[in-house]
Amino acid sequence: MIERRPVLDVISHAVLIGGALVIAFPLYVAFVASTHSLEDVMRMPMPLLPGGRFLENYTQVLFAGTTTGSRAAVWDMLINSTVMALAVPVGKITISILSSFAIVYFRFPLRNFFFWMIFVTLMLPVEVRIIPTFKVMADLGLLNTYAGLTLPLIASATATFLFRQFFMTIPDELAEAARMDGAGPVRFFWDVVIPLSKTTMAALFVIQFIYGWNQYLWPLLITSDESMYTVVIGIKRMIVGGDAANEWQLVMATAILAMLPPALVVLLMQKWFVKGLVETEK
């Protein structure tokens, strides 16, 4: 606070309240819609206070799916999403911590070449190689499998960079001391590097959990079997046509269920989330 500006304070709060309302409004509407019957939701305007069908709607989507669109139960989709959202960060952290350890702590032929190989993957997002990647997956027999869902997403240059950057800040004295004490690279990795990297890992985990949970294009290509749908794909499959054809109350219940786990991660681990976001992109 540099000076008292009561008018400006009022404006600030007004802008923030307005912004917060607009940002939160879709969530509120979705929640309200998910607690009403279809007739109520289709009425113009729809009610703006929660109704009494919370349990019915959520039980139906969780265990039976919709009747007009996809009939897959959302419970199974949530399990698929969870598998994906856990496998992606765990896989990513594992392979990138290993590769960046090799790049930072060893001198070996082709080191720079390998580093650049990992680096250029930044320039090849799934979206630019849709058809050929699909063919590769089909050739390898990975369609409709968890391996197919997760493996291609765990290679990432960003995580490797992040660990590399962090390793550069580990004082050389630690490695020297370890070597004097007779510790080899594996011992040094386990007993020094891994414990020091815990905060970086936590931050990465939060960001990558959200990334894995929210994947859309990749699961859309790779899953044709209802039992392999993730919840984000499931919502899309529930929408079958025009406004009137969809069971909006069930679609919105699914949307709430799809938002809940990543939103909880963001809210409960806000500190790690902010750290991970700001650091992975720099």
Binding site: S12, A24, M42, F106, T133, A175
Partner: protein, 293 residues
């Protein structure tokens, strides 16, 4: 930057790199190479015969008015998304940086859409704007606006822009907030002592000092609007009506998956790759500059 202290082993570094390199080669280089290879080929839709056609796919693309239209759509879409999400987030971040009371509440509410998947964001907004039942449609109709994005291209574009901006605000907001908090308070105080009011301080100190953050966010937002908004578009307009919201990435998907035009779609992929490489190059040049800033 290099480490002074290193370990020596003939095989260990290769073993450590192997998992990442294996995945990179199988899922990145091989498909990317295939994309380039297919882009020079003409395949019939059933994949029965293939013909090597040199640059015919590219020539056909650049003769196709739809492709130019898609470029135009992409340009309008990406710049609207980037500009709006930067301006709105900057405004919110500046205000959030000022207030003390409820600061955490505002921050928490403003960042949660980051957790929402692009496709789910699309579904939420298309429900609120649904032509016959949407709650916002109801208000617009009461105000005399004839709202139907299923038929009107410009309204469809507006819808996908709103949904994409909404999803990107938390990201930009956090970066601006971090940027604002790193501006030394002494600079602002000195300006205040010299008699500069809040507006003057904002334009003469805050905006210039935030310019690295703003430029960084501009590039990130352009990349976001280019690629990650696929889910928003697929869950709402599916590129329609009449291709009014068919951005380049959506066209690659549509032509390749829905129309099974492998050669044409791969040629588009190759052009997209060139665009990403250019954007990444700009981003990295800029990051190198920022180190010296």
């Amino acid at each position: 930057m290099e480490k002074r202290v290193t370990f020596r082993s003939a095989w260990l570094p290769y073993a450590l790199l192997a998992p990442q390199l294996a995945i990179t080669v199988v899922f990145f280089f091989w498909p990317a190479g295939q994309a380039v290879w297919y882009s020079f080929q003409l395949q019939d839709p059933f994949g029965l015969s293939t013909q090597f056609v040199w640059f015919d796919n590219f020539i056909a693309l650049f003769r196709d008015p739809h492709y130019y239209a898609s470029f135009r759509t992409t340009a309008i879409f990406t710049f609207s998304v980037a500009a709006l999400s930067i301006c709105i987030s900057l405004l919110l971040a500046v205000m959030a940086d000022r207030v003390v009371r409820f600061a955490l509440v505002y921050k928490t509410i403003l960042i949660w859409p980051y957790a929402v998947a692009a496709a789910v964001a699309g579904v939420l907004w298309s429900f609120m704007f649904a032509p016959s039942i949407g709650i916002v449609t109801f208000v617009l109709k009461a105000m005399g606006v004839d709202w139907n994005w299923i038929l009107k291209g410009d309204q469809a574009m507006l819808l996908v822009v709103i949904a994409s901006v909404w999803k990107q605000i938390p990201h930009n907001f956090l970066f601006f907030l971090a940027g604002l908090q790193s501006i030394p308070k002494s600079l602002i105080e000195a300006a205040a002592i010299d008699g500069a009011g809040p507006a003057r301080r904002f334009w003469s100190i805050v905006v210039p000092l935030l310019s690295p953050t703003t430029f960084f966010l501009l590039v990130v937002d352009l990349v976001y609007a280019f690629f990650e908004t696929f889910g928003v578009i697929d869950a709402t307009t599916m590129g329609g009506p009449a291709q009014a919201t068919q951005i380049l990435v959506y066209k690659v998907y549509h032509d390749g998956v829905k129309s099974a035009d492998i050669g044409g779609s791969s040629a588009q992929s190759v052009i997209l790759m060139i665009i990403v490489i250019a954007l990444t190059a700009i981003q990295f040049r800029f990051i190198e500059r920022k180190v010296h800033y």
